[in-house]
């Protein structure tokens, strides 16, 4: 076989291995996502992890959050607030966490979360019909 075929095989295996590792890490992060913070509120709210170097945050996530209207959004700099970011296993930006009024983490979205999805999660949080759901969209 030529070197090109071997190279394709090696690159393919490496990509598959990386995808597998990412899937395992993402699943572990979801399991370990913490269920409570110290910020109770009148209504469900959103913890929004961002950073100066996050382009998608500015171009996609923030316009999506703006569409939610009067929902409280607590913006967290993931680099400055490392402890809080680690608590929610934030490994990519943006990450959004839908919190219940009593401060429980209900949904963790790794990567860009569209307004429609956040709206649905907030509605579930208000109705109390939620399960612990976490998704990776990065």
């Amino acid at each position: 076989m030529s070197i090109q075929v071997w190279a394709l095989a090696v690159a393919g295996i490496a990509l598959l291995a990386a995808a597998g590792v990412e899937a395992v890490r993402s699943a572990r992060a979801r399991r370990r996502a913490v269920g409570a913070t110290s910020a109770p509120a009148a209504d469900p709210y959103i913890l929004y992890f961002t950073g100066d170097n996050c382009t998608v945050c500015r171009t996609h996530q923030e316009p999506a959050l703006a569409k939610l209207g009067t929902v409280r959004v607590d913006k967290v700099d993931a680099i400055v607030e490392r402890e809080l970011a680690d608590r929610f296993q934030v490994y990519t930006l943006p990450t959004t966490v839908v919190m219940s009024a009593d401060g429980r983490a209900l949904h963790v979205n790794y990567g860009y979360a569209p307004a429609q999805k956040l709206d649905r999660q907030l509605a579930q949080a208000r109705n109390g019909t939620l399960t612990m759901e976490r998704t990776a969209t990065a």
Partner: protein, 156 residues
Amino acid sequence: MALTTVDHSALKVNQTGIIVTVLVAFLGSWAWYRPLLVLIPLLAVVLLLGTFAPQLALFKQLYFKVLKPLGIVKPRPVQDRPEPHNFAQGLGGVFLAISSVLIFLPVDARTALVTAALGLAIALLVAALAFINLAFGYCLGCQIYFQLGKRGLIRA
């Protein structure tokens, strides 16, 4: 840190340049002319030079001097920081430099098959990551930059 305006079209042209160059080197050397593999070290030099001296970034200059003035590619300015993108480009350059060393390592024929295949595989992975960035906007180098900053290893 202060945001500035980054033209994301320049980044896209850069990513397209990386993908096309690696594919030409890979497919061309396979089907037609093996010396085309020399495009990989050249690409490494272009990326590394462009990281430290933006005026020498070949693909970005192609965009700013030709594609943009002629209206072939429309500008897309975004409030952003250039550092993560430069970091990602530099990382790509470093991996392509490693790839080049492996491809052209002067070893015996049997070992050369292994090292050259490994080198080409690294170049293909760089192209794959450039494609993921181009198509889906996911920049692995930027995420590594973020993680290093989070751990205090660089000033992010």
